[in-house]
């Protein structure tokens, strides 16, 4: 059974090989830092794995098109499989799609694995896959990945293969099929029931209550033999950070997310759990509305960029679990990361200089923050405000309610806080949040040269030219862009010593790419 990780692309598209390889490799780089150096112990079946997650609400939905936080993501990974999985090392791994291939990058053929069944006993067929993808397409779809899959013009089943046709060639399509929103679900009359818990994953739902807990038992017919070690999984929504810590310390749960950096040292001192700190491309930022004065003047934007202490923010807000970012949404884990850009340091004199260039001697701005944007955003705002004062910039920190932050503040207020999970492919990140007119272009920044390069790079075949283009785009975003990005944040989780983890943990999303439930085992 061959697995064409690098499909044989025809003529011009052949050089897209590199694109795909890269696309796979970028999500990698998820090595456990010194913190979590556990020797791999023999994998063994059994045990109940209890996970405490800092998300979850009674209004959560089973509909994968509406998933947006770690609780539903992990719950989904327990009971569902995807066409393609992102391996711990960032390579694409065949899951329900046994292999995939394309001749021109525009028409893709996925061969569906035979002999896999849903929990209900029904076989997984190509029709199920078609229905699962179609759930996120079409006018009536409410799926959040609708824009992402908009380039798909047709999906059809052909025997045991699924044929996907695109508007234009895109070598990243297999990557899109790993998106956590697009699990393979059973089709009934050509469409999926989004409220059903039936899936073909390693665990069968026993009971669940939204915003409280979900209990799952191992799927005895699971097709993967070296996965899903636990007998039972219990997912608990524990919103309060202290309650999560307590639950881990008292042994009520084995794994928690969002560990408060301030308490990491003390937690390690207890000797019951270890910290896993996984660097990815995720980053925190402060977008400024480039259409509005004073942010329409790049001198003002630069003044603000030199007025914050990035090192201190990494130390204090992330507790050291992250890295300094140079206003660049492309992270060190990305293939075309521009590492040689001039680093911006905290420099009040330089900030003042740019203020003068803008014809100002002082500046008053208001920064809207809430911890809903990212954990520690309010503190980060307070720190920013403190360091900026030395440069004659008065930042009034306006703490807004967490509730409704993304709908009422983000992209509404002209200076606020933001968070991005990071994207594995440069094009994906730039197209989503920096291209002119993009739905989520949070800073409303438009730069002709940047947009020109973005289009050109997508179809550029020469590796070196492409690299240069992406470097120039990063330079533009960093020094002319309208988003201040001070830090890349690691995924930080704490795991009980009763649990063994593989040597390598995926940097593709939190919780080992949500797959901790099937990749980890009882120590």
């Amino acid at each position: 059974m061959k697995t064409p990780l690098v499909p044989a692309l025809a003529n011009r598209v052949v050089s897209r090989r590199g694109v795909l390889q890269g696309a796979a490799a970028v999500t990698a780089a998820g090595l456990i830092l010194p913190y979590g150096a556990t020797p791999a112990r023999a994998q063994a079946r059994g045990g109940t794995f209890r996970v405490g997650i800092g998300h979850g609400s009674t209004t959560d939905s089973l509909d994968p098109g509406l998933w947006e936080h770690l609780y539903v993501q992990t719950f989904g990974a327990c009971r569902h499989n995807y066409l393609i999985e992102v391996g711990s090392d960032g390579q694409l791994v065949p899951e329900i799609a046994e292999s995939w291939d394309t001749a021109d990058g525009q028409t893709w053929v996925f061969t569906i694995r035979q002999g896999v069944t849903f929990h209900s006993g029904k076989d997984v067929t190509a029709e199920d896959v078609v229905a699962s993808i179609n759930h996120h397409r079409g006018d009536a779809s409410t799926s959040v990945v609708k824009p992402l899959l908009a380039a798909i013009t047709d999906v059809r089943a052909d025997g045991n293969t699924v044929v996907v046709t695109l508007e234009a060639p895109n070598a990243d399509l297999p990557y899109l099929m790993t998106d956590y929103h697009v699990p393979v679900m059973p089709a009934v009359d050509g469409s999926v029931d989004p409220e059903s818990t039936d899936g073909c994953g390693g665990y069968i739902v026993e009971s669940f209550e939204h915003g409280v807990q979900a209990t799952l038992t191992r799927n005895p017919n699971y097709w993967k033999e070296d996965r899903a070690w636990f007998d039972r999984i219990e997912l608990l929504a524990i919103l309060d950070p202290a309650a999560r810590l307590n639950a881990l310390i008292t042994g009520e749960v084995h794994l928690i997310d969002q560990v408060d950096p301030a308490t990491i040292g003390m937690l390690e001192g207890r000797g019951v759990a270890r910290i896993l700190s996984i660097p990815g491309n995720a980053h925190y930022g402060f977008p400024m509305d480039a259409r509005e004065a004073p942010y329409s003047d790049n001198n003002i934007r630069l003044a603000l960029k030199y007025a914050l202490d990035r090192e201190a923010m990494v130390d204090v807000i992330l507790g050291g679990h992250g890295a300094v970012a140079n206003d660049n949404p492309i992270g060190p884990a990305n293939r075309y990361f521009h590492a040689e850009m001039e680093a911006k340091t905290y420099d009040p004199d330089r900030a003042r200089y740019y203020l003068q260039q803008a014809g100002l001697s002082s500046l008053d701005v208001t920064l809207s923050v809430a911890d809903a944007a990212f954990s520690g955003a309010v503190d980060a705002g307070a720190m920013f405000s403190e360091t900026a004062r030395a440069a004659g910039i008065n930042i009034t920190v306006n703490r807004v309610p967490n509730d409704g932050y993304w709908s009422n503040v983000w992209m509404q207020d002209d200076f606020c806080a933001t968070y991005w999970g990071g994207r594995a492919v440069e094009d994906h990140m730039f197209t989503t949040a920096y291209a002119a007119g993009a739905d989520w272009n949070e800073s409303f920044w438009t730069n002709d040269r940047f947009n020109e390069l973005l289009l050109a790079a997508r179809s550029e075949v020469d590796e070196n030219l492409r690299r240069e283009m992406y470097h120039e785009m990063q330079q533009l975003v960093s020094f002319e862009g309208s988003t201040i990005i001070p830090m890349y944040n690691n995924y930080v989780m704490a795991v009980s010593n009763d649990i063994a983890t593989p040597e390598r943990i995926s940097a593709n999303w939190n919780f080992d790419g949500f797959r901790c439930v099937e990749r980890w085992w009882m120590a």
Binding site: P241, A242, L245, N246, I249, D260, A262, T263, M266, L267, G269, R270, A312, D315, V316, A370, D371, A372, V378, D379, G381, A382, M383, S385, E386, T387, V397, N398, R399, V400, P401, N402, D403, G404
Partner: protein
Amino acid sequence: MGFAASIILGLAGLFALAWVLRLAVRRALTGHARSIANDMPLTAAFGILVILIYAIVAIAAPALAPFPEREIVGGQFQPWSAEHLLGTDRIGRDMLSRLIYGARNTVGIAFVTTALAFVVGSVLGIWAALTGGWIDQALSRFVDALMAIPALIFSLLLLTIFGTSVVTLVLVIAAVDATRVFRLARAVAQGIVVMDYIEAAKLRGEGSWFLIRREILPNAMAPLVAEFGLRFCFVFLAISSLSFLGLGIQPPTADWGSMVKDNATLITFGDITPLLPAGCIALLTVAVNFVVDWQLYRASGLKEQ
């Protein structure tokens, strides 16, 4: 347990100081004032002393605090040292300075809020009791309806709608508290309005405002004062609970309720940092209520022992 010992020592010291203060006051005063002071139990003296200290700290905060309220002066969570007596907080601001400024902000906000709630609540309550009829019914039913909605959730709703500036925070908490005060004031006033002297005043042709101000309010003072003592302290807790739910006072303003919340996870590891602001709130609560108890006791006319 050096910490527990220092707390006990500190409290004992305050009591000793209170005893000295009472003695000094007794010496200094004459006549009626002196007899009041003579009756004063040690707890009340303690309460007055603590309130005085808080007031001085609040007023003289800029002079007392070693560092500015908002300035980052050191690393994160530095231990207690000669330079930073109580260490530093989450982003490296001096803890002691934050506590001192917190006295000013927290006590100030709590006082304004409670005062507002009492003025509105008691005036409306007494007016309702005095007027009776449909005004009384309408006001009471409306207040009942508001009280039937849990306070925290109601505040959450209002703050989400109106935003979280200090002014809206004060207004929202005052509005919620005023409903409670209204009920109490109305209940107390209902017992008073049937008294003969009120009838007499009415026959004299006095207006409602005069009756409320000169006849009813003075006689309803005792239970209202008692309620004031508790409500005053509940404002800290309300702010604290609201910041637990992600609303509360704007940074970088220091207030004790938010400071408890910000450092609360540390208590999981037995770290006493969050006990400092919580202790400040507790001490003031106890002090205020000691004084209130003494006033109630005097008002009750129970003079045994």
